[in-house]
Every structure is written in C-alpha cells, then in structure tokens.
C-alpha cells in the first residue's frame, strides 16, 4: 500500500470502534454485547446512569485490563493485539483528578509528554502551546493545587491532547464543576472536534450536556439501548426531550427484564 493510500484509509477508519464487547466479573455481567463507533471529527455522548458499565468500558478501552470477547480498535489498531499503536492514538481525561497537586502545571504536562516518549524540550514547547489554547498560558508555573476545579479540568484536557491523539475519552469530565466551568470545558472539547478532527467519546449521566444534534449512545445495565443522532432517539422514544426519551428507553428495558 502506498503512503497516500494508507493515509486515506486512516481517514475513513473510526477514531474508536467497539464491536460486540462483553465483559463479566464472575457472575456479574458488566457489559453485554456493546457496539459503538466514534468517527473522526465526531462528538459522541455516552449517556448512562452510574453503574451502567461506563467505567468498565473505559477500563477496557484504556487497557487497564483486556476485553474478553469482541474487539476494541483505536484508529484501526486493536487495543489487545497492538496496544502500543492503539494507546498512542488515545487521550484520556479520567473522572477523578489525576494531576500532581504539588507540581506545577508545566511539570505535569512535561510528565505526560515523557509518558508518550516525547523528549523534554519538545514536551515543554507542546505544553506551552497547549496551555495557550485553553487560556492558561499565564498559569504555567503555578502549582496545580492553586487552580480552580474548572482550570484543573482544562489542564487535564490539554494534557490528554498533548500528543495529538485521534481519539479522546472523557469520563464524567464535568463532575464537581460549576455551570460556567462545565460549559467552558464542553466548549473547548467541541471546538477541538471541529478544529482538529478528534473523535470524542464524552461519558456523562447529565442529559443537559447533550446538544440537540449530537450523536448519543445510551448505555444502561451494560447494554446499548440506542446509538444514533438525538433527533432519531426522540422520534423513536416518542418523547419531547432527551430526559423523557432516556427514561422511556430505560423503562422499556426494565419492563423487558421483568
């Protein structure tokens, strides 16, 4: 395959593809035949209440442990078979805070660059660029401890994108943020989707973070109940708003189980 052909193939391949993934812990089924795709340049909301299986799914995508069945591909690379190639294209913002509070913003970003095999001086210049983009250039030498919750999250988003991944995962990224910070974090990530063509999987349990034309994946009790555009979901569930649709779909699931 020529280089040009290879590149165009990469462009059509999904940033993230989860196909028929099931996972269980002993008798507990955490994920049941989950399939979802995040195309490049798409913002996909993974909507599900706590305990829906989002954390397990994220653990599998980030390869904390391997999926038992099905496959997970990041930009076409199988996470289990080609972890190095796959993880290199992955940026993650974890639900819990994962910056070192005692180190400066720049030191935290430099550490992350090193984890991606990026040398010191290059890591530094990438970090400074990234901070400028999220409007925190003047806080580069501030200790993370002194940042607000919203600023910390923005730094974590900048960090996740430092190595220019094709796929960005955010796990309940707005937990604990005030309304303004939530909106700014959302706006930054949505901007990145447009600007850089990153494929984003945004996990949340808050329906008001979903825009009216977003793609959503409804995850409930380990199963995908809907995957598609918001208007289609509303039509399918015959609901006026997303909250109603969400309730309708999960209730149906409950009725089926009963």
């Amino acid at each position: 395959m020529t280089r040009v052909a290879q590149q165009s193939a990469e462009e059509t391949v999904d940033a993230l593809l989860v196909r028929s993934v099931s996972h269980r812990f002993g008798p507990v089924v955490a994920l049941d035949n989950v399939t979802l795709a995040v195309p490049r340049g798409a913002f996909v909301v993974l909507l599900g209440p706590n305990g829906a299986g989002k954390s397990t799914l994220f653990a599998l995508i980030t390869r904390l442990y391997d999926n038992i069945s099905g496959e997970i591909r990041i930009l076409g690379h199988d996470v289990r078979r080609q972890p190095t190639a796959a993880l290199r294209q992955l940026g993650v913002v974890f639900q819990s805070r994962s910056l070192d509070a005692d180190l400066s913003v720049l030191q935290n970003l430099a550490y992350h660059a090193a984890l991606q095999g990026i040398g010191r001086s290059e890591g530094r210049s990438l970090a400074i660029d990234a901070l400028a983009k999220i409007g925190l250039a003047d806080r580069a030498d501030a200790k993370v401890r002194t940042l607000s919750g919203g600023q910390t999250r923005r730094v974590e988003i900048a960090r996740a994108l430092l190595h220019d991944p094709a796929c960005l995962l955010l796990d309940e990224a707005t937990v604990g943020l005030d309304v303004a910070s939530r909106e700014s974090a959302l706006a930054i990530v949505r901007g990145l989707v447009k600007e850089r063509g990153v494929g984003v999987l945004w996990a949340t349990h808050l329906v008001d973070e979903v825009a009216s034309d977003d793609r959503v994946v409804l995850l409930h009790k380990g199963r995908v109940h809907f995957a598609g555009l918001v208007p289609d979901l509303l039509r399918l569930a015959q609901a006026g708003n997303l909250r109603g649709a969400f309730m309708r779909v999960t209730e149906d699931a409950r009725a089926e189980a009963a």
Binding site: F58, R97, D100, A114, G197
Partner: protein, 282 residues
C-alpha cells in the same frame, strides 16, 4: 493541524529514555515537594541510631564478625540495618501511594502510556529507588557525624547494593499494591509486613546471636529477603561482596518483579480478575 497529518511518534530508544527519565523525575520532584515526608524519613532511622542504639549497646556485645575487622560499636553494626529500614519504609510508602494513585487516577495515567506495561512498572520502581537513595545518603551523612565511619570507598560500593535491595523491596511493594484492595491504614502494612520483616532479620542483631536464643527464629531470619538485603548492604558498605546475599537478593527481585508484572498484566493480572473499576469509577 489534524491528527491525521501528525507524524506518528515512534517508540524508539530516545522515547524509552524520555519516558524512563520522566517517571523517575516525577517521583523525585514529588518527594522534594513533600518536606514533611523527607524529614520523617530521616528522623525515623536517626531516632533508632541515637536512642535505641545507645541504649542497646550496653546490652549487646557484637563480636568480630565479617565484614568488620575489629570490635565495633552497636551503632556501627546497626547502621546497615537502618539503611535497609529506610529502603523498606520507602518501598512500602510508594506501594501505598500506588494504591492511592490508583484511586485518584494517577496510576491510570501511567498505565495508559503506550510503552509496555512492564517497562512502565520497572521505571516506576527506579523512581522509588532514586527517592530512597536521597534518604539513605542523607542518613549516612548524619551517621558519619555520629562516628559511624565506613571507608570512603564504601559510600560508592554500597550504591549498587542499595539499588538492588531497593528494587527488591520495591517490587515486593508493587506486588502488594495490586493485592491491596483499597487505601488501607498504614498500620496494617506496618504490623504485617514492615515489623516482621524488620525484626526477623539481621538488621538489629547478628544472626549468630539469634541462633543462640531461638533456632527456629534463626531459620526464619535466614529465609527473610530483608536479611539478605541488609547483609548485602553491610558488606558493600565496607567494600566487600557477599555472594550468597547477592544471589538471594537477585533471586527475590526476579520473583517479586515477576509477580508484580503478572499482577498488573492486563489479560492475566489481578486487576483484570477482580474487575476493579479503578480510577474513580462507580
């Protein structure tokens, strides 16, 4: 710039070097920011040296045993044991910090790096050892002022022994960190790991003394990995090599490291089996 046009970074030797350096650098930096931890790490062995050893030297005579060429004061005898204690505490503390890291997401940040997981874990161990070395040399400096004066070359020859012993204890702690479910009380680790390892060893008293009082305890001490770590350090501090201890420490390091890497292996490891949604999952 889109991700598609970005040149993919190869994980070549310089990438490995950057990653290793970054992990060690972070550990050291974090440690330097925690002055209280540095102080505590230094005070602990010094209390033993200044108070316990002063009282104990009246009770316990230490005869001439290798590597010492003359009668030595108890302070001199106990110093390698206290160095081992620093390594032990440091390893256990970093193990607990890993459990804590796992809960805060810092461990997830490390493990999502594209480098092989075993490389990441070994780098992390070296980071812990680097921190321990700072503590050990600070302690040896104070001990020198307290007239514990090994030959100058000893400060150099002890370095590889310290690194190896530090890796062994760190690997043990790393394995433990995968077994410990949640951030538990440090007291638990103290009672069940640190104290038994420390007291049932040659750190505080020569083994021949222990044999006189209890043959069983003597056998326990002889299989205790910590005994071999201390003896390796003791001889190295006097420019000598204790082959049996070296072999034991190497063997235990390989064993513990293998267990730790297995435990963190994504498909076989304990994390996978337990299915812990680490990193703040609910």
């Amino acid at each position: 710039m889109t991700a598609a046009t970005a040149t993919p970074r190869r994980l070549d030797a310089s990438g490995y070097f950057a990653c290793f350096g970054g992990i060690v650098w972070r550990e050291v930096l974090r440690f330097l920011h925690q002055r209280a931890r540095f102080l505590a790490a230094l005070v602990r062995p010094l209390v033993w040296l200044f108070i316990f050893a002063a009282g104990f030297r009246q009770v316990l005579g230490v005869s001439i045993i290798p590597p010492y060429q003359t009668y030595v004061l108890y302070e001199v005898f106990v110093t390698p044991g206290l160095v081992g204690m620093i390594l032990l505490f440091n390893a256990m503390q970093s193990s607990l910090s890993m459990v804590y890291d796992r809960e805060t997401g810092a461990m997830r940040t490390l493990l999502v790096s594209p480098f092989p997981r075993s490389f990441l874990l070994v780098s992390k161990l070296f980071g812990g050892v680097a921190v321990a070395l700072l503590q050990v040399y600070a302690f040896l400096l104070v001990a020198y002022l307290w007239e514990v004066e090994p030959p100058p070359i000893g400060y150099l020859t002890v370095l590889p022994a310290l690194v190896l012993a530090g890796l062994m204890l760190g690997a043990l702690a790393l394995f433990m960190s995968s077994v410990i479910r949640q951030l538990e009380n440090f007291a638990g680790v103290m009672n069940f790991v640190i104290f038994p390892m420390f007291f049932a060893s040659s750190a505080l008293y020569p083994l021949w003394r222990i044999r006189e009082s209890s043959p069983l305890l003597y056998e326990i001490c002889r299989v205790n990995p910590f005994t071999h770590a201390v003896e390796l350090i003791r001889f190295a501090l006097y420019g000598q090599l204790e082959p049996a201890s070296l072999a034991a420490v190497l063997g235990f390091t390989a064993l513990f490291l293998g267990a730790a890497i297995y435990a963190y292996n994504p498909s076989k490891g304990l994390l996978a089996r337990r299915g812990e949604p680490a990193g703040g999952g609910r």
